[in-house]
Symmetry: C2
Subunit: 584 residues, 2 copies
Amino acid sequence: MAIPNSLKRFFPFLDWASSYNRQSFLNDGTAAIIVTIMLIPQSLAYAMLAGLPPQMGLYASILPLVAYALFGTSRTLAVGPVAVVSLMSATAVGAVVGPGGAGYVEAAMLLALISGGMLLTLGLLRLGFLANFLSHPVISGFISASGILIAVSQLKHILGISVSGHNLIDILQGLLSALPQTNFYTLFIGVISLGFLLAVRFYLDPALAKINVRSEWRQFLVKAGPVFAVIGTTLAASQFQLAAKGVETVGRVPVGLPQMQLPAFDMDIVHALLLPAFLISLIGFVESISVAQTLAARRRQRIDPNRELVALGAANLASGISGGYAVTGGFARSIVNYDAGAETPAAGALTAIGIALATLFLTPLIYALPKATLAATIIVAVLTLVDFEMMRTIWRYSKQDFSAMATTIVLTWTVGVVAGVASGVLLSVLLHLYRTSRPHYALVGRVPGTEHFRNIDRHDVETCETMLTLRVDESLYFANARFLEDQVYAAIAQRPNLKHVVLMCPAVNAIDASALESLEAINERLEIAGITFHLSEVKGPVMDRLKRSHFLSSLTGQVFLSQYDAYRFVSQQNETATPETPSF
Amino acid sequence: MAIPNSLKRFFPFLDWASSYNRQSFLNDGTAAIIVTIMLIPQSLAYAMLAGLPPQMGLYASILPLVAYALFGTSRTLAVGPVAVVSLMSATAVGAVVGPGGAGYVEAAMLLALISGGMLLTLGLLRLGFLANFLSHPVISGFISASGILIAVSQLKHILGISVSGHNLIDILQGLLSALPQTNFYTLFIGVISLGFLLAVRFYLDPALAKINVRSEWRQFLVKAGPVFAVIGTTLAASQFQLAAKGVETVGRVPVGLPQMQLPAFDMDIVHALLLPAFLISLIGFVESISVAQTLAARRRQRIDPNRELVALGAANLASGISGGYAVTGGFARSIVNYDAGAETPAAGALTAIGIALATLFLTPLIYALPKATLAATIIVAVLTLVDFEMMRTIWRYSKQDFSAMATTIVLTWTVGVVAGVASGVLLSVLLHLYRTSRPHYALVGRVPGTEHFRNIDRHDVETCETMLTLRVDESLYFANARFLEDQVYAAIAQRPNLKHVVLMCPAVNAIDASALESLEAINERLEIAGITFHLSEVKGPVMDRLKRSHFLSSLTGQVFLSQYDAYRFVSQQNETATPETPSF
């Protein structure tokens, strides 16, 4: 039976479910097992990073994955708790109810619900373009800054000391002053874990390759590194009674699946969470779509950004009602999912089953898991977020873009994540407006003997003292409308013999109402000064719009199809007007 | 003795002072007399509109004019209190210290000082471009909305009732509920004044023309209308003891020149005034520069926007230390000044002397001047601000621009002037970003037998299934970088035989770091999908910048000077690659 396309649009799974077969299931199942093994320690660790009890990380990896499998357009994206969103969640909730304060858990669930509602709304209203305002330097700077902030914030768990604060300065000060309270059992566990994870990450693959282990197995063992660290340190902590020696452990985790329940709605808290929820939604979306597009392109598949918003919205709503917190598509686990051969989003649903089984049966075993191990897992994971090479690249490419990036980084560290992102966005927009407010422009003249017109400052061209041609290489809109006026008035003030001004528009893609007003002002003022105003090489869509105004009828001159037409017209005018060439 | 140009740049008066002669003085003097006569009632009226004692309007018309004469680059701009800035001043100061509250006068002076300081700073830092963010629809909508708001707010003086409120709804409600308290003596004075002023404005000129009165005299009499209304109603009020019958009059105005003094600096008040001061500065500057440019163009003179900022800053600082309030260049009085033959800013200085003499000798005479007369003056003056035709024009030209205008108008009326302007600016920026985030683009093909390439949807062109050419008609930057990616990925997902993608860039004036990142992502993902990525017709400055990145070295394809080159290259590739054309 053919499924109507409209239904497929809302439930993308209908697209692949009909052709789902045993082989697809085997592939998805294999991928699901590998992702589950990778996701268990990550879920526990990111919940800790978010300041939440460990089971919330597991809960956030069950129902949200099912929701994404139903609505997502990416075949291989793996959603769940991720580092940056966990940090943003901790900052937002901590600012509202105080770190670890009463209602902290409920506020985190509420944040997921609000973010989910926003994502869903953005998707249904097709407002995905809003994410575009997060320019690449801002995102990239923010992710790098967050990576360092997260790594530094986890040092307290490695040292076994207690430090609060959400910005780098507070955390560093806290670390320094609490350093004497370092618990050396904890530090030992932490350093061993860190060393082990770094060794696995950087040396395991080549080492196994030497002894001819198959590539898939090598990859699996590398990704399972955190699981071995968790098992090893849990056994050690339990064996040597480290909890009694001051090593903080995960402690009792409730057994069983999450209860379906809505958090309490406190309107003051909802209000305070709106802005952070919006930024979490945008950042989460941008990260997720970028991963999804990377993977989709490899198989020439298509991602629909607005459907992705809906799917991420559904995933966050599912998280918020099932005891989880804010989730998004994760980079590392999606790659693992893809590499492990996942064919369809069913892999995500199978992963959810895996995590659910873990929640049912494994939670009693992690009682003695040291927090230092989880901190080490986080630190090693977030190191990949810090991209110094990108900073160098952007510095070389554009100082303006770099300044937006640097502002984002500095404010993320010194003030907080919301201030960092918000200031970066604002600065990006201002710099864009500033750049286009002073567009590239040139006075042009004719290349002798041709129909070409070039910048008089760069080329040896013919000009004429009764005619001035200005070429503006930018769309004309409010930010540069007056700049254009200034240039024209400056040019005519220096040229007493001027009779014609031509505005050459081959690079003008749009003229807004402000620029139209400026063109009208130029036309009127030039007329008073006895100068005719022409346009040349106006693009079709721009001309169509100009026809909706009175400008063309009040224009003292003409609109020429080519600058050469304008040149010939003015030449003829000069000939008939010159007294040295009497007409009798 | 030649004056160095650097000195002239800072003191533009040096430019004209050296050639000043008797004729210039006579011309400037005549203009000054006419402007003084027009300015006296206006100064009193606008001070009332700003909620200030009448003498502050006069004070604001003395020293600021001298300051502008020293620093201004416009030969004929006349500065002083104007309607819109007076309204904004009343709203800002009223919001901070309460309408007519203690410290109201000092706060208004402080506002002038802050605004002056900002204008001066913007000018010295050459930040005049910031005013560009006030798009024409926003300015135009704001001025129209203010005109109606001002006219309605003055009805209380015509009716002789007491009404407070700074938005249209509050004022209209206040008017309705206080309507029964109407003072009919006041209403009589108000209606007579209104009728007289409207008659003078619309019928006096043609009537006098009929009896062959000379044009200059007609203009003078029309502009002097408010003076006759002031004299007539003052005499009537004084004769019939109208003050005793509840007609509100100006009352005792202190005789003498303003005292030089700084207002008290209360940092809380300063802080609260910063945003309104900034908006007043920008709006005042935009209005002033627009008048100045209109007049300068008539005589092919040059206005330097950044020097104008300095001059307006000096004028406002002068106002703030001499008992005045925020000032800017006024449209009506500048036209009068120009038409009356003013040659140099000395006319402004002479006007200042005129107003100073009025402050010294005329203030005792205006004791009995009814406020209703001043309100009538304001209402007739602000009617010119309301521009319904502009609303229609913008509606026809662009619905986007109209929406920014409508938002400004509605919020100015319902919330207040700051909210109106701020929301308009924000919406303009967002709409600009939205527009450029979905740029015009086209898949193009070759016009058969030519080297031209056109939109495949509009023209009958040749295409080839191994090659896709996308032309984007907009600069590439963060707001549209992902849109470009989406289009490319969508296009390749539908074309299984695709081997080459060409991005045609003749309208791309800039590529920022976000767009560069997108191009790199496209290049990389196309490579994985087995597709070569090319660029064509890249502009010089864009190419220069791309050379600063690694993009060109990682590009799988080439950068072609013309699209035709790209076409020929792909055709050759096809020929060598097609198995039907064996090479042996």
